[in-house]
């Protein structure tokens, strides 16, 4: 609901305070990363490969600990969608989608309900009893999204989740993701290489520099939700994408 997006302004869901990350081998991955994501915001980070984007999400989720600075986020129900679908091969779609609820000891009937609802949201109805080996890349990603949706996470981290699917599937998943965002009202932090994907889905796009990564530019994306596929051919969309692209090229240097 758009109301959530506007009325919940200024409530920080996730904030990075001057984050720096140096790995034990001396690689400096991040330096002075300082921004926050508010409820009802969908923020995307674009940046060159190896700039530390994924590292930032790992720090946000607690999988890694930063060497400098503070993170503020509620990790109890954080949603985190990886680059790979990471479905358990031995579980059906239903079994996979139920996993998180199961790990959080939610009773069987309740997690069935949550899973069925999430499967419905991502449009995988009819595939509940399929095993991952018989799903396409896009369907695996949908199952992975559904798995995370069962927790109704207030914060949703996406680590380049649609990088491995074909262009058409990616665009459809982009459209569906922004609908989900609008509907569920989570705070989203999305990572990608694709400028079009970033501008299409986000309320805000951040550009990260090459390693050590830091935020070098910020763009507000003014388009109303729900966004239509044709938005991609809007001149304003093209102009904004061009600006992001210019910044990104600068950050490579």
């Amino acid at each position: 609901m758009v109301e959530v997006a506007t009325s919940a302004q200024n409530i920080k869901a996730l904030s990075f305070d001057n984050i720096g990350m140096t790995f034990p081998d001396g690689t400096e991955a991040l330096t002075g990363v300082d921004f926050s994501v508010e409820r009802g915001e969908f923020v995307t980070i674009v940046g060159p490969s190896g700039c530390g984007k994924s590292t930032l999400l790992k720090i946000a989720s607690g999988l890694l600990e930063q060497t400098v600075g503070d993170v503020e986020v509620d990790r109890e129900r954080i949603g985190y969608v990886f680059q790979d679908a990471t479905l358990l091969h031995w579980r059906t779609v239903m079994g996979n989608v139920e996993l998180f609820a199961e790990l959080h000891n939610i009773p069987k009937s309740e997690r069935r309900r949550l899973a069925a609802q999430a499967i419905d949201l991502v449009g995988l109805n009819g595939f509940e009893n399929h095993y991952p080996k018989s799903l396409s890349g896009g369907m695996k990603m949908r199952a992975s999204l559904a798995r995370t949706l069962t927790l109704s996470p207030p914060v949703f981290l996406f680590d380049e989740p649609f990088g491995a699917v074909d262009e058409i599937t990616r665009e459809r998943l982009n459209e569906e993701t922004q609908l989900l965002f609008q509907r569920e009202g989570f705070a989203g932090l999305f990572i990608t290489h694709s400028i079009s994907e970033a501008v299409f889905m986000s309320t805000r796009v951040l550009v990260m520099s090459a390693r050590p990564g830091r935020i070098v530019a910020e763009f507000n994306v003014p388009f109303e939700y729900p966004r239509q596929p044709d938005l991609r051919f809007n001149p304003e969309f093209a102009r904004l994408s061009g600006e992001v692209s210019r910044e990104l090229r600068g950050s490579h240097a």
Binding site: S61, G62, L63, I78, Y80, F82, D84, T86, L88, H89, W90, R91, L99, F100, E102, L103, H104, Y131, P132, K133, S134, L135, S136, G137, K140, A164
Partner: protein, 292 residues
């Protein structure tokens, strides 16, 4: 990225053959073609082997030395169609199969326990592994005398031989399997703060099943060999196929010797197929051998 595709017609023998694998072709020339592709080559080779066998029996061996390789029909007549002889071999097989099964079950229990301990603690893994390799490196015949020293020459010793010979593949494969879950999957369980036991039960163990079954098929075959070798060497107690092999060899009963060898192999193949069928039943639905 994989989409369901009809099971391809295959002559791949690395996969267990079962009804589920049967191609879903109803009729038509395709079926005839596949049948001929699957059946004809081994049939042709088999015929060639039989011809060579006859050639050796009748052309290369003089009559007084023919017992070295009796011709196929003689083996069939004396070894298989003479019920007295054949039932003796079947009895021996039954005894050896029982020993192999007992040894295998104990090896599985020991192997699983050790592999789970090793998977949970690097310290134990480092401590145990060199000894497993050492144990594996001992030629079985070298410790058979020692086993008879300690456990006598009865059935118990044969079981010990089976355990020693089949333990290693179970441990190595189970351990490898338990460590095979992808990093990303572990991250999922870490994010949702799962304990060790949950992780083992819901992640490590199911992820290990394909490797465990691969190990079981190897070990089951080895256990059969262990039962026969043990029986052959100890030569006492309940008569198994090993003692029969020795008896036939000593009596120069060439037909029965060959029949016993063939039936030993049949036992091994049966065990292999049996475990393949169990594997297919257990993990065939989700396991895709072509994916990583």
């Amino acid at each position: 990225m994989s989409t369901p595709d009809p099971t391809p017609l295959t002559t791949d023998r690395s996969k267990p053959l079962s009804l589920d694998d049967a191609p879903v072709v109803v009729a038509g020339p395709g079926r005839v073609k596949s049948l001929s592709l699957n059946i004809l080559p081994p049939l042709a080779l088999g015929t060639l082997i039989l011809a060579a066998w006859y050639f050796v029996s009748y052309r290369l061996l003089e009559e007084n030395r023919r017992f070295l390789l009796e011709p196929p029909h003689a083996v069939l007549q004396v070894g298989f169609l003479d019920w007295g002889n054949f039932s003796e071999i079947l009895q021996g097989l039954k005894s050896s199969a029982r020993v192999a099964l007992i040894g295998l079950v104990i090896a599985i229990l020991m192997g699983f326990t050790l592999a789970i301990i090793m998977s949970q603690s690097k310290l134990f893994e480092r401590a145990i592994f060199p000894y497993m390799v050492t144990l594996q490196a001992i030629p079985i015949l070298a410790i058979v005398p020692l086993i008879s020293f300690w456990f006598g020459t009865g059935q118990r010793s044969r079981v010990v031989v089976c355990i020693i010979i089949s333990l290693f593949p179970i441990i190595v494969n189970t351990l490898f399997g338990l460590q095979s879950a992808e990093r990303g999957m572990h991250d999922l369980f870490t994010l949702h703060s799962s304990g060790r036991a949950t992780r083992l039960r819901k992640l490590n163990f199911p992820a290990a099943l394909p490797a465990i079954f691969a190990g079981l098929r190897i070990s089951a075959g080895l256990s059969v060999i262990g039962a026969i070798v043990g029986d052959f060497f100890f030569g006492r107690g309940d008569v198994g196929i090993g003692q029969l092999l020795r008896k036939y060899a000593n009596n120069l009963d060439g037909e029965q010797l060959l029949a016993a060898v063939i039936m030993s192999s049949v036992l091994g193949v049966t065990v292999f197929l049996l475990f393949g069928a169990i594997q297919n039943r257990a993990i065939g639905k989700w396991y895709d051998p072509n994916s990583t």
